[in-house]
């Protein structure tokens, strides 16, 4: 049940040639990227009434790039950054759709997207892709 929220199919799908940025919490980096960087249990590949899934940001809609994200939320300065071409996600069963309504930070909401289709079955492959495409490694938490 999504209530008044649009169904995933009603959301704008990001094109395969575009790039997205995914932020990685420092606790998910231990010298390698942990699977915990990508939640899958709550959604099981399907959106809930309040949440569509893991977040990402469409790079093309962020002229300032990562700096624009960090300006919106200073805490992200200590997060890692993964830059991925959407095509690579699509190949693993993940679809990227625009979800500005789910962004907690108004100045960058227009670039907010959600990764649909992350399940416990494909998560490890997606995290492996993340690890290969990590652009900025977060500091090790401990």
């Amino acid at each position: 049940m999504l209530g008044a929220r649009p169904t995933p199919e009603q959301l704008e799908e990001a094109a395969p040639h575009e790039f997205v940025l995914r932020l990685v919490h420092p606790t998910s980096y231990t010298g390698r990227l942990e699977t915990s960087c990508l939640p899958s249990r709550d959604w099981k590949g399907k959106p809930t009434a309040t949440d569509y899934g893991p977040s990402a940001f469409l790079e093309a809609r962020l002229p300032g790039g990562v700096a624009e994200l960090e300006a919106a939320n200073h805490d992200w300065k200590r997060f890692g950054v993964v830059r991925l071409q959407i095509r690579e996600l699509n190949e693993r069963g993940v679809v990227v759709r625009m979800t500005p309504m789910d962004c907690q930070f108004p100045t960058i909401a227009h670039a907010h997207a959600t990764l649909f289709g992350v399940t416990s079955a494909n998560r490890d492959d997606v995290v492996e892709l993340f690890a290969a495409r990590i652009q900025r490694v977060p500091p090790r938490a401990a």
Binding site: H25, T27, L38, P39, D42, S55, S120, D124, A141
Partner: protein, 294 residues
Amino acid sequence: MTSLQSPQAQRHGPPTRDALAVAAENFVSGQISSRYLVSANIATTQRRTSLAEDEALGTAVAWTFIIVPTAYPQVMVECIYGSTQTLARWFANSVHTWKFEPLEVNTAPIDPTFTIFRTAEPTLTLNSSRADLIGFESSAAGAFDCRIHPTAGSMGWDETVRRWYLLSARQHVVPAQSSELPQKLLARFRLLADETKDPNWDFEGAPSIPEDEWLRASDLCREALLVKELPEPVPSPCGDGTIHLRWSKPDGSQVLLEMRGSQIWWSYRKHGHVESGKLWFREDAIELLRDKLA
């Protein structure tokens, strides 16, 4: 042998606070000093509805106590008041694995398929993660969340609720086996608990991961360290509220446990081969680690 039932057990109606306290005290006497007992009640939600439905069917009503290990430094004595059907359901998966002996009761067994038990080895059982199942099982239905134990003692008494939780200082509870966590790992657990104590810690709406959960995860790691040739685990929090524990070996094999409440999802990977499943008991997780990695 101490009786588990009070005279209230044969009535259709919640036991009084006094009867409950006396029965609890009897039950735990010799194990937990009654002066530490704190009465508390927790309003139930969905489970309460479920009980009402059972009672409507005319089934008998019983109540019993179960000692459930919680986060240090408390143990919980749980009183379940409900139909035999409900209680039997709760016990269904655990009786055969627990070391029980029939408890001497004041009345005949209520149901031939369900007898009130007490543990033959209370100390061992207090430390058994199998007991967690009973305490946590109902949280899935929204009826009971072990994480609110620390505040339960301050809640008012309400005769209308169907279950009571008596919290006690933990005594005579020495783990059957334990090891010390390496300082570095202990420090990481502390850091992760601090990082995830507030909701939305990942700015994606992640639920907070309470310290209780971290304690349970660190307990499991502590036990796992006793398994020979097992590598040191790597804990990390996930935005879906689970705690991930990873064990990796140089040969590429890896076991990942994802824990939340009493549930443990596991996966094993080696050279592209993947197995996965779900566990309910900490002992089974240890056995899995031993089987796959040791």
